[in-house]
């Protein structure tokens, strides 16, 4: 994808949420999007889910540019290919319905044949280790249990892409781990591509790939415990946070090519 996303605020001012984001995620990958509040990571997730359309650029999902398709096609995409887990368990559930009903509700958009090919709601909950919660009312569940049910309902349609916005926020460590375990499980078992947004570096660290968004751009990428800078289409590279204090805004730098790479040296102003 390569997108620019601009919001227009209620006051009429334009706010650039994402600029020149160029990102490829392969099928079956597990990717965490990291970044401070307002950096644009949730916006990026909304673009993946077709909730928002980019101001410029393309968003290709399974080879299809979802920024150009109709609402009807978007609906089909959301029903079978892209599953979104919103931040906060309650936003993903019908609070008055049982876990089984919530799973069935999430699958309503699927064609009957597709639904039959999937495990039943109860079987799915069993396979995800939530069989004991299947008929319990949501009102009596803990936050972690509700989040697990929300997760189960989200993935119940068998979508190839799971978009999860802060799935572990406001959860205890145990519940967080349980959710991460579920994410890994569906990735492993159903080969589901997972893109999750998180503030938590520990969560990101448990994902094979993490992408840090800063000021609407991809600032860094981590793979298997190693962090990398990312050069964007304009040739710009974000300086890592730990070095940012050495390069305050407006600092003049010199690039020096060495055998190992490129040396970035601040220029001291004279006089």
């Amino acid at each position: 994808m390569n997108v620019v996303q601009i919001y227009t605020t209620a006051g009429g001012h334009d706010v650039v949420a994402l600029r020149g984001v160029n990102l490829d995620i392969s099928a079956g990958e597990q990717v965490a999007l990291l970044g401070p509040s307002g950096s644009g990571k949730s916006t990026l997730l909304s673009l993946f889910g077709g909730v928002l359309r980019p101001s410029a650029g393309k968003v290709l999902v399974d080879g299809q540019d979802i920024s150009r398709i109709t609402e009807r096609e978007l609906g089909k995409l959301r029903s079978g290919k892209v599953a979104s887990l919103l931040q906060g368990a309650s936003r993903n559930l019908l609070p008055y319905a049982s876990p089984v009903d919530n799973v069935e509700f999430a699958r309503l958009a699927l064609p009957v044949s597709a639904r039959r090919s999937l495990p039943s709601a109860r079987e799915l909950l069993d396979r995800l280790g939530m069989g004991d919660l299947a008929d319990r009312p949501l009102a009596g569940m803990s936050g972690g249990e509700r989040q697990r049910i929300a997760f189960a309902a989200t993935v119940s349609s068998g979508a190839g892409l799971l978009l999860a916005d802060e799935p572990t926020s406001q959860l205890s460590h145990d519940d967080r781990d349980a959710i991460l375990e579920l994410i890994h499980l569906v990735n492993a078992e159903f080969d589901t591509t997972v893109v999750l947004v998180t503030h938590d570096p520990e969560v990101a660290a448990q994902m094979p790939r993490s992408i840090t968004i800063r000021n609407g751009r991809i600032g860094a990428e981590g793979r298997h415990g190693f962090d990398f800078g990312v050069v964007d289409e304009d040739g710009a590279v974000h300086i890592p946070d730990e070095l940012a204090t050495r390069f305050p805004a407006g600092t003049l730098v010199q690039f020096e090519q060495t055998e190992d790479g490129v040396l970035l040296r601040p220029v001291e102003e004279r006089g």
Partner: protein, 1095 residues
């Protein structure tokens, strides 16, 4: 489907409220038309049922002797046909499919009114009557007549005649026959007659307990003066001088042998078979019957038949009723739908995240729509059958409670068909459809929201006023203005529906304007409180300034307050008018038509009721113009015995009574032998007619009498002597008058002096020499101010100057007359009669040209109409809004005063009525009847009022009131529910304010103040709009069908009602404010903010 409806229970409070509102709206939509139809059916039954059966039932008759078939030569050649043959002939003319369907089975009868009987020099018609089943209907002492010559006689008549079982009664008959005579053109027929007597044998006596029973069909066939006393004055029951009827003799058919009997059949209408849908068929059948009756020459028997008028009246009332009901139900249904929309919108807002979730899960448009509308549609689907059943039950209940009563001939009382008809189905479909649209519209507003927007914020942002909303508000105001302008400029009451709906338009317009004004006012208030107001005032003004739902919250309460105030006031005005109408229509608590001269009735009433507590007598000239009739009442008991509505006058009735009082010191005498001494008699006439002097006086029995004192001859002195009967106690002198021979007119001129009067030889003081002792008596033949006689009192007696050929001052006035009477009357009777006149009565007719009426009597004296139809000078002593018997246009004067000079001639169409006060003992009325005076009931205030309260508009107003109260309850519920629904979101704000240190007390006070100002203003504006409606709209509404002479409604604003509604609703508004404010502040804790963040 199960998943779609899973949330019904979760949002049970909201859904229950929506369910309740939907049930109310649909039930009201069903109840209205069903009740309207039932009420119309009730009107159909009561209107027709209240009429005499012979005006709505079919009658066929066939005469024994056909026209032109007189026996030739010998009356004995006549052989009476069998009654059964005549009955069969008559029945053939009262038949047909329509008749069979709507009229009951025929009852045969035969009537012979050719016989007569003379008793105490009075000839009475004595009919023979046979009716199938008559002996079962009557209370028979003896046996039922079965053989020729057997008769049953009315028991009192038998007592009067002194006859008993086995005795014989003989009737006189006249047989007609024709003979051949030689005429100019050859042989001709000549009709002749022969008297014949027929004797009948009494086999018993009978009494009629219920002459009005439908089984008798027409009671006039057998009723008459039951004691064979002719009415005083020689008047028959019908007011004419024909032979009065005696009660019929009940006979067997075989007794009908004369030429004059007829056989017939009666078919009373079957009200249980006549329903509203059948009216056209009934009208067709009635028309066929009328045409057939005219074709066979039976017009007389069908002449009273008139079904078209009541049917047209019912149709008109049905239309009116439907309009009233539409107007009554419109605000209720509109309010219900508004509340429903508010509730389903609130429910949609609650379901908004779930709809977003459905979209996020990729549900198709149709699936999202189904999910969004499933709950509200399910509510409507559940509510509809429940509402239909409830509406049906309510209609049945209303019909059972209100639409009942004995319906003469209408079968079992209280059986009013309550059906679901087309109007009901259409009304229910419209409201159910509107409910579904409201549900769909609320759902669509959520569905249309972009997914990103709905996911971005938990609370839907307030929407700015849209252009369409502004247009809608402007349209409401414009429609209200247009309605008011139309009503003010329209001179007729054609558009009743618009008039009835106008209060709703006005209330909506006031609500829109009021909400606008409140917003402006609150902005000013918030600036003021920001500078120097307290915290509570600041919080209240700030919220009021920001609220976008002011109109939504104010409209229901304002509308309901306005509607209920209008309904209460309209009902009060309408009910007052009906009371006034009943009083004016009946005259007394109970009113009777009395068949006796007015003076006799007045005298009798005074004698039997000397304290004046129960009875009074009134007369009205039925031949007069109904738009300006004059009623004369014995005003000495006006206060006690007249049904007087206090609203008719600001003055108490006792004060009015004093203004009208008759003369207290009337000239009277006791004795039989009168002698009148005349002196200086000098009279002449062109025709040289005989001149007679007469005395008009009121005898002991109240009968106005005239006695000839003697012929007057010219000369120095003459004494006239006469016998005055019935003056043993006290006779009242009314007039002395000079006439021609036998009360014929005279053209006399000249003068004479009445020197003295003696009664039974003793001189009596008739105030002959007193200056104000006598005056010329009205009416004057030429004008109101030019009497043909002048009195000149002096020491020698009373000089009487007669100018019958040429009036004094004729040259100046160009007035002259050739003949008449020279009448004088004691001066105690006022020459100008004081009268009460209604506001709607013109000041009086102008006096004739050249007359100096005003100069003679003063500018306030005008021309009125006397009891005998003559002009008379009257002085309007007070103006009132209405009067008994004349309604809003007419006058009322004292009867006794008027009788002195304007006694109506015998045989006039003057109606003499006896009015009885509430609680009049029955024995008192029996004493009146015992004097041989027949009293025919005219009406009772109570029953008349009950009938009037059962008319279409009254029935409609009753429902308007009930629905208005239901609207009020619904509005209060709706406002409370809306406020409670908002309390969750309001609590966040309160929690935030508490976090920053605002005290709980200030928060509660601020919230209470906010709601009290908002709802209190709605109540006040509702009262204002009701007041505007009452002033502008109410006078445009027909409050019911009224005869022309009915009093006009008094469109006064009933302030106690307005104040009562205002106080009660203001207290309710305050209670709502307290409850809601406590709830908001209870929910608004700092922890609420954490919950909000989490959700």
């Amino acid at each position: 489907m199960r998943i779609l409806l899973l949330g019904l229970w979760a949002r049970r409070g909201l859904n229950a409220a929506a369910l309740l509102v939907t049930v109310a709206a649909v039930a009201a939509a069903v109840l209205g038309p069903m009740y309207a139809r039932a009420a119309a059916e009730h009107l159909l039954d009561t209107r027709i049922g209240a009429l005499p059966l012979y005006t709505t039932g079919l009658t066929g008759s066939w005469p024994a002797l056909q026209q032109g078939s007189l026996p030739l030569g010998d009356p004995d050649k006549y052989h009476a046909p069998q009654v059964s043959t005549l009955v069969q002939n008559a029945a053939d003319n009262v038949d047909g499919p329509g008749v069979e369907r709507f009229w009951r089975a025929q009852t045969p009868w035969a009537l012979d009114d050719g016989g007569s009987l003379t008793y105490q020099q009075t000839t009475f018609t004595v009919p023979l009557y046979w009716r199938k089943g008559m002996c079962d209907l009557a209370q028979v002492q003896g046996r039922c007549p079965t053989r020729p010559g057997d008769v049953l006689m009315q028991a009192t008549m038998a007592d009067t005649l002194g006859l008993g079982r086995g005795d014989t009664v003989t009737l006189d008959y006249v047989d007609h026959y024709s003979t051949m005579i030689k005429g100019v053109g050859g042989q001709q027929f000549e009709d002749k007659s022969r008297d014949r007597q027929v004797s009948f044998r009494l086999v018993g006596t009978y009494r009629i307990a219920h002459p009005d029973s439908p089984a008798w069909f027409d009671s006039t066939r057998f009723t008459g003066f039951d004691n064979l006393h002719a009415a005083p004055g020689g008047l028959g029951a019908s007011g004419d001088s024909s032979a009065p009827p005696a009660p019929a003799l009940l006979v067997a058919p075989s007794s009908m042998t004369s030429q004059s009997f007829v056989g017939g059949v009666d078919r009373p209408i079957d009200l249980t078979a006549v329903n509203l849908d059948d009216v056209p068929a009934v009208q067709r059948a009635a028309l066929e019957y009328t045409q057939r009756a005219a074709g066979v020459g039976a017009g007389d028997s069908a002449s009273f038949f008139d079904l078209a008028t009541p049917l047209q009246q019912v149709r008109a009332e049905h239309t009116l009723l439907t309009r009233v009901l539409i107007a009554a139900l419109a605000p209720f249904v509109v309010l219900s739908l508004l509340l429903l929309f508010a509730l389903v919108s609130a429910a949609a807002a609650v379901r908004r995240p779930y709809v977003s979730l459905a979209k996020l899960r990729g549900h198709s448009g149709a699936q999202v729509l189904r999910f969004a509308v499933a709950e509200p549609v399910a509510l409507v689907v559940v509510a509809t059958p429940v509402a239909l059943v409830l509406g049906d039950l309510a209609a049945h209940l209303a019909a059972r409670l209100w639409l009942h009563g004995d319906i003469p001939g209408g079968g079992p009382a209280g059986v009013v068909p309550v059906r679901v008809d087309t109007a009901t189905i259409v009304a229910a479909a419209v409201v159910v459809g509107a409910s579904l649209v409201a549900a769909g519209a609320a759902a669509m507003s959520v569905i249309r929201e972009p997914l990103a927007a709905s996911l971005a914020s938990a609370v839907r942002p307030d929407r700015q006023s849209s252009r369409s909303g502004l247009m809608l508000r402007s349209a409401v105001v414009a429609v209200a203005l247009a309605a008011v302008v139309q009503l003010l400029t329209s001179t007729h009451q054609a558009n009743q529906l618009l008039a009835l709906l106008a209060p709703v338009f006005i209330a909506l317009a006031v609500a829109v304007i009021g909400a606008l004004l409140l917003r402006w006012a609150s902005r000013w208030w918030v600036r003021r409180t920001a500078e120097r107001g307290g915290t509570a005032g600041y919080l209240a003004s700030r919220r009021l300034g920001r609220r976008r739902d002011l109109a939504n919250l104010m409209v229901p309460l304002l509308l309901a307050v306005s509607v209920v105030t209008f309904a209460l006031s309209a009902s009060a005005v309408s009910d007052d008018w009906r009371v006034s109408r009943a009083d004016a229509q009946v005259g007394g608590a109970v009113s009777y038509e009395a068949f006796a001269p007015p003076g006799v009735m007045m005298h009798l009433a005074r004698r039997l009721d000397p304290q004046g507590r129960y009875l009074t007598v009134a007369t009205v000239d039925n031949s007069g113009d109904e738009m300006g009739r004059t009623v004369f009442v014995d005003t000495t008991r006006l206060r006690a015995a007249v049904a007087w509505d206090p609203a008719w006058s600001d003055l108490p009735l006792s004060q009015l009574q004093r203004k009208l009082a008759p003369p207290t010191h009337r000239l009277a005498f006791t004795g039989s032998h009168l002698s009148v001494q005349l002196r200086d008699i000098s009279l002449k006439s062109v025709a040289d007619n005989v001149r007679e002097l007469w005395l008009q006086y009121v005898a002991d029995n109240g009968l106005q009498s005239n006695v000839l004192l003697g012929r007057v001859r010219n000369g120095d002195s003459q004494t006239l002597r006469a016998f005055a009967p019935h003056c043993r106690h006290k006779c009242l002198v009314e007039q002395l008058y000079l006439s021609g021979e036998g009360q014929s007119v005279t053209d006399s001129q000249g003068r004479f002096t009445i020197a003295g009067v003696r009664v039974d030889g003793a001189p009596v003081d008739w105030r002959l020499g007193k200056p104000d002792g006598w005056r010329a008596a009205h009416p004057f033949a030429a004008s109101l101010v030019d009497p043909p006689v002048q009195v000149v009192p002096g020491p020698q007696g009373l000089g009487v100057h007669v100018y019958l050929q040429e009036l004094p001052g004729a040259a100046a006035h160009d007035l002259s007359m050739l003949a008449g009477y020279a009448r004088i009357t004691p001066g105690g009777t006022p020459e100008v009669q004081p009268v009460l006149a209604t506001d709607g009565t013109k000041p009086g007719r102008l006096p004739p040209a050249g007359s100096n009426l005003a100069e003679q009597f003063g500018p306030d004296v005008v021309v009125g109409t006397a009891l005998n139809g003559q002009d008379m000078p009257v002085r309007v002593v007070a103006r009132v809004k209405a009067l008994p018997l004349v309604g809003s246009v007419g006058e009322l004067g004292d009867l006794e005063t008027n009788l002195v000079e304007y006694d109506p001639p015998a045989g006039s169409v003057t109606s003499v009525q006896l009015w009885a006060a509430p609680g009049t003992p029955g024995a008192l009325l029996d004493k009146v009847r015992a004097q041989g005076i027949s009293l025919s009931p005219r009406g009772q205030v109570a029953t008349t009022l009950a009938q009037l309260r059962g008319d279409a508009f009254s029935l409609g107003l009753r429902l308007l009131l009930i629905v208005g109260l239901a609207t009020l309850v619904l509005a209060v519920f709706g406002v409370f529910a809306s406020a409670v629904l908002q309390s969750r979101w309001r609590s966040y704000e309160v929690a935030a304010l508490r976090v920053v240190g605002v005290s709980q007390r200030s928060l509660v006070r601020g919230s209470v103040l906010e709601y009290v100002v908002m709802l209190g203003l709605a109540v006040v504006l509702g009262l204002v709009s009701a007041y505007v409606s009452l002033r502008l709209v109410l006078p445009s509404i027909s409050l019911g069908l009224a005869p022309d002479f009915s009093p006009k409604p008094i469109y006064a604003v009933h302030w106690p009602i307005v104040a009562g509604v205002g106080v009660v609703l203001f207290l309710v508004a305050t209670l709502i404010a307290l409850l809601v404010s406590r709830r908001i502040t209870r929910l608004g804790r700092p922890s609420t903010l954490r919950w909000a963040e989490q959700s």
